[in-house]
Amino acid sequence: MKGRLLATVFALAGFGLLTAQQPNPDDFASITATATPIDVLSKCDQKLGTVRQPADGPTFLTSSRQFGWFGGAIDLELAQQVHFPQLAPSGQVLEYVAIQSITNGAGTPGEFSFWTDNGGQPGALILAEPVTTQDNLVYQVSDATAATLSSYYGGQLWISFVNISDPNAFIGPRWFWGSTASNTNQANGHPPYYAYFHDELNRFGPDCPKWTNHTVCGATFKSGPFFGLNYELSFCRNAKLNIGTGVPTMTQWGLFIFGLVVLTLGVVALYNYSRQRVGENA
């Protein structure tokens, strides 16, 4: 029995090693920084789900240094289409947003925003939250933000991140975008080129509107046509005592306790009846 148990354990371990997902070597092609997978769910008491880009797990993205025509540090904003999962209507909320912003050295203040979908590109701004960039940025959204975004569950949104990125820096604020097909969100049924970028100073030229994909602007990239922001939206909850909304639950508890009291009285009556029968027979 013990031998069979050990054999089963070894077989399962071997199967796990064989089927473990291997990262695409392309994803590491131009990375000089050390990136670690985001572990935002470790911050949650209750894990509800994760929307991750790339969909197949945390992989490392290609450096924004691919934008070779930029001479220095600039503000770049990259928007990425997000399909919010349809969550059970039991008060589940988006608690954390993690953006894998791989920087060398200290990060700089940035901002991420949520946008509505407007025919396949970012539409109206829903909200914008300032953040501080750091390695594997994990941002806890406010209750107000979570409440606002909850009305978009099951729908299509865009998430964008803007930060100063120095394309020529090896040491300094430099963050990375995806550049391979494996970084597209096709697992969610989207076509390529769903990522749009935005340069505040219109350095993409007059033909580039606010939200632009690279095919419109005709930019020359050194590798890969696909761009993607590496993000992770974590739907999770932490222990909360909610004093203000106890009425429905108290009603349920009231019914339960009422039923319990009735049951107890019934059992007591049965007990008394059985004792009375014993007394009569004696």
Binding site: Q92, A239, T249, V268, S274
Partner: protein, 63 residues
Amino acid sequence: MHFPFNRKVFDKVFWRVSLLAPVAWVAIYFIWGELLIADIVGVIITVPILSYLIHVILLMRQE
């Protein structure tokens, strides 16, 4: 109505049921995703009533 009561049996049952209270709170939290004040109060009220019920059932079995 006569309410039977055996202190020794009730005490034994009460403490065992009381140990289940934290388990109930944890279960509520993980099933419903939140723990309300009403849940804490509800469990606290339920413990002695449930203890008494079990205590009566045990008395019936003993006698």
